[in-house]
Point group: C2
Chain length 230, copies 2
Amino acid sequence: MSEYGKYSTFFSEILLFWKDLSEAQKSMVQSSMVIKQFEAGESMRSGSENCSGLFLIESGQVRAYIISEESGREITLYRLFDRDVCIFSASCMMKNIAFDIYVEVEKETRAFLIPIAVFNKLAGSSMAVMAFANELMASRFSEVMWILEQALFMRFDKRLALFLLEQSNIEGSDTLKITHEKIANHLGSVREVVTRMLKYFQSEGMVEVYRGTIKITDKRKLYAFTMPSG
Amino acid sequence: MSEYGKYSTFFSEILLFWKDLSEAQKSMVQSSMVIKQFEAGESMRSGSENCSGLFLIESGQVRAYIISEESGREITLYRLFDRDVCIFSASCMMKNIAFDIYVEVEKETRAFLIPIAVFNKLAGSSMAVMAFANELMASRFSEVMWILEQALFMRFDKRLALFLLEQSNIEGSDTLKITHEKIANHLGSVREVVTRMLKYFQSEGMVEVYRGTIKITDKRKLYAFTMPSG
């Protein structure tokens, strides 16, 4: 049994196809799998490889985003947490994916990497693995559609309010240590717009804005503000 | 041989998995397949069913779009033409797809429908069919990402110029019979904004605007306008 043997419960819970693999396939995965450790701010990839394989996040937090070549503006598409699987780090296995998604580590992250060659081999020989990749892509597609709808159809002030609430939920705190610049990068906007809007939220008594910190002071009001009628 | 036997060349060219099907599977597809005829303006579905199955477009033109519940604003995600396959009419086969895409017929369309039950059965028993669905979804995902990037990072005037050029390409004509309202629905905008921008294009000598018609008078200039440096 490899050193990864002790993680087999974790694998079987995260990789829904695990039970459908043969013993030979399981041991191929376990013997090729690599543990990777990433610091906040790092890009989640293995060496210079953009398509490293499938990352299973044991613990941590990352965000997937796109960036405008022209303006350098960014927008977050989705975030991954403990026990999530990053399919876009294996996007080269999917023909017809013609866009780049970047993955940035937001909090120290420990992840297992199934190298792309191994994952490709599995997907080519197991319906269950292919169905897993399919469902994962469909689920990310849904998240991106939600971002598209928000970006297109929702006013920026509501999106910002929603982001602050989500962020507070992720952090488990009403005091958010985040710069206006970072918020702009999550929302596809620019710092100036975020700063202006936060000042308005402050004047309405929903938040207090400090250097590098935003404190949510009236969560109910902020939440009500995100509603269609608000 | 069923009445669809004569289309088997068409099927084998469009459905890349056709050669991998058994004779029994082929005849299941051919005997269950239905020919559907849609008029411009119709929604592409079978009866009241949102998830009818896989439509193979023999000839015609449709657009896939989303609509904002709140404001009723629309945006076109992609368009399909002769020999394209509509995967979102079979989206219920994909778990984790948590959004609605509407499909509207833009020009009279004739399509073959593989009913969802049959397509599901195929996908459950053939790696080739599942890979086909996977690649089709990846390709639509890429188109949606392109729309997201445009909508987020490209100025509206450039997007409008790009749309007019694409439309002219689709129609094979520099005279476009389309209302400002329809253009707004393609681009996730509103009529007033489109009208204002077209007036500006007219003042720059790129188009002439008539009731229900836009004539592109300087294609080169319009094209140059879409460029990052322009």
